[in-house]
């Protein structure tokens, strides 16, 4: 009995090891997990830091950034909203971004339909070409567009920006809408056609309502692709027509004031609001 018991006791700890007093190995493992966790925490902090500091910076009383910020003020925001240069650049960019959203979403959605459902010669070439503006460095596009637009006096013009930003925004639309169209069951459209609808009716009554979440997300991406764009805008802006990106670039380079932080906070809030909405809506859709 006692030997049996001893044998049993000898075996038990191997089975319920986790309940035993922590061994040095368990300690070192816990230490390892904590170290890895702390390391990942640092990486996450590194990722968030630049976005997070613009808010306190924009509220700080002083011209330069101190931590913690000394005094709270909204004077940099009022400086932004009362500066005609900043306002002109903001409205110019907003107009361009809204127009780009319309053109890129329509052209991109049409092309995505043709890419997935159409019968196109050179389809993969077309697709690679449409995604090209995303791969080709934007500085090259900026220089190229300046050289093409300058003789036509399109630099600094609404139309010049619209063409440039449509090309830059269209890849996001094609990627997003292509995915939506691929998920859409074409037999639904066939049913509509069988019931007497023509292609156009079938598209607006059946296809579009089904792919609209993707199209809406694509529109948000297109808006931000234009509104946040700075490299190409840097080259095709001029004194009369300056995008907000170009204005910010100039001020960061030559006139570093907290007004930039106020502008940045407004822009970050806009981006996060738009993208967060899209993300939540899409997440809800995929869960349901």
């Amino acid at each position: 009995m006692s030997t049996e018991h001893a044998q049993l006791r000898g075996r038990v700890p191997a089975v319920i090891d986790i309940f035993a007093a922590p061994t040095s190995r368990a300690y070192s493992r816990a230490a390892g997990i904590i170290a890895i966790g702390a390391g990942i925490g640092c990486v996450l902090f590194f990722l968030l830091l630049p976005t997070l500091i613009v808010l306190p910076m924009s509220l700080s009383e002083t011209d330069y950034l101190e931590f913690p910020p000394r005094g709270l003020t909204l004077k940099w925001y009022s400086a932004y909203f009362n500066d005609p240069d900043w306002m002109a650049a903001t409205w110019f960019s907003l107009k361009i971004a809204l127009a780009t959203t319309a053109t890129a979403t329509v052209a991109g959605t049409m092309a995505a339909l043709a890419i997935v459902r159409g019968c196109l010669p050179f389809r993969s070439t077309l697709q690679a070409l449409a995604l090209g503006p995303m791969i080709v460095p934007h500085i090259i596009l900026g220089v190229a567009l300046y050289l093409a637009f300058a003789p036509l006096q399109l630099t600094g013009s609404f139309f010049g920006f619209l063409v440039a930003h449509t090309v830059l925004a269209v890849p996001y639309v094609i990627i997003t809408v292509t995915a939506s169209v691929q998920r859409f069951d074409p037999t639904l459209e066939l049913a509509a056609l069988n019931c007497g609808a023509n292609r156009l009716q079938a598209f607006f009554l059946v296809v579009l309502p089904n792919i609209i979440p993707g199209v809406a997300a694509a529109a948000v991406f297109a808006f931000l692709a234009s509104f946040d764009e700075a490299t190409v805008a840097f080259f095709i802006s001029d004194i009369s027509g300056k995008s907000i990106g170009r204005k910010m670039f100039e001020d960061i380079d030559f006139n570093l004031t907290p007004v930039i932080a106020a502008v940045s906070t407004v822009l970050v809030a806009t981006s996060l609001l738009l993208m967060g909405t899209v993300h939540l809506l899409n997440g809800r859709r995929s869960r349901s």
Binding site: I40, L47, F67, A111, R117, G118, S124, A144, V167
Partner: protein, 296 residues
């Protein structure tokens, strides 16, 4: 394997006999016309003109200048070097984050995902500005260093190669994390469980099962980071200095300061050729639509 590497599933790459399931040739062509018009006006024609300008005068003199002056060659090599360092740094820092995102329970995973998406949704210009503020002579980091005492005076952090690498790594890390995360997410947990059942420890199971199966995401993320890093302009222009010139900032300098457009065009053509070379070399791993789908 090859199926997932083409731009679209294989089933779509051949045309079935005409059926209402597919649009007719005329409809298809009509649908792509606006896109083609925009691409012609805003992409193909300007880039073609740029390349043509680089050969202006019917000579290769601009190219000779790039490839014979050591300064320009140095910039080209240092661009490739910086892109490589940024890619490796993004991979080393990003992989654990992607792994954690795939492992955590719903609520915590959401929080980590937000930490990855928030910088991605912040404009590159604003993030570069934040780095300027953080790294400048009287910026937060220098203030902290001087106040807590590890350094006597403020360090020169900004306008250095290190600052460029730091800021570029920050901008590109989400492009590394998200493709890796999507491959890890798609990995059935049974595989690791099976390895553990067969006696592998957690480290062995990770090295023998998870890591090799995550490689498609690692490659897609790395190629994306590298290609995007080659052409970066905003960040090196604001954070870098004269000693950390990259191809993009050199092109910027030629056009805005020296106004030597044909030479800038030749530099652009070289940068374009290098970028396209890498894209074509790694086309199979890049799998554009798949890699980018997880990002946007």
């Amino acid at each position: 394997m090859t199926r997932s590497l083409t731009l679209l599933p294989r089933s779509l790459s051949f045309r079935r006999p005409s059926s209402a399931r597919f649009y007719s040739l005329t409809t298809s062509l009509a649908l792509v016309t606006p896109l083609l018009a925009a691409l012609m006006a805003g992409f193909l024609y300007p880039v073609a003109r740029l390349v043509a300008l680089s050969f202006s005068g019917g000579t290769l003199s601009h190219y000779r200048r790039i490839f014979t002056e050591p300064l320009h060659l140095e910039v080209l090599f240092s661009t490739i070097e910086v892109a490589f360092i940024v890619t490796v740094a993004s991979l080393l820092l990003g992989f654990p984050v992607a792994y954690l995102m795939a492992q955590l329970g719903k609520g915590l995973a959401m929080a980590v995902t937000a930490c990855v998406f928030i910088p991605l949704w912040t404009s590159v210009l604003i993030r570069s500005y934040a780095w300027v503020v953080l790294l400048q002579r009287n910026g937060i980091i220098n203030t902290l260093l001087v106040d807590t005492g590890p350094t006597e005076g403020p360090l020169k952090l900004i306008y250095t190669q290190g600052a460029v690498i730091l800021a570029m790594t920050h901008v590109l890390m989400p492009f590394m994390i998200l493709p890796i995360y999507s491959t890890l997410r798609a990995l059935p947990p049974d595989y690791v469980r099976a390895a553990r059942n067969l006696g592998a420890g957690p480290v062995r199971a990770f090295v023998a099962v998870t890591l090799p199966l995550s490689l498609p995401g690692v490659f897609a993320g790395s190629v994306m980071c590298f290609v995007l890093a080659l052409g970066f302009y905003i960040t090196p222009a604001l954070v870098g200095g004269p000693n950390s010139m990259l191809m993009a900032t050199l092109i910027g300098q030629q056009t805005t300061v020296l106004l030597d457009w044909p030479f800038a065009a030749a530099l652009s053509t070289v940068l374009l050729a290098v970028t396209l070379l890498f894209v074509l070399m790694f086309r199979r791993t890049l799998s554009l639509s798949k890699g980018l789908n997880s990002v946007y």
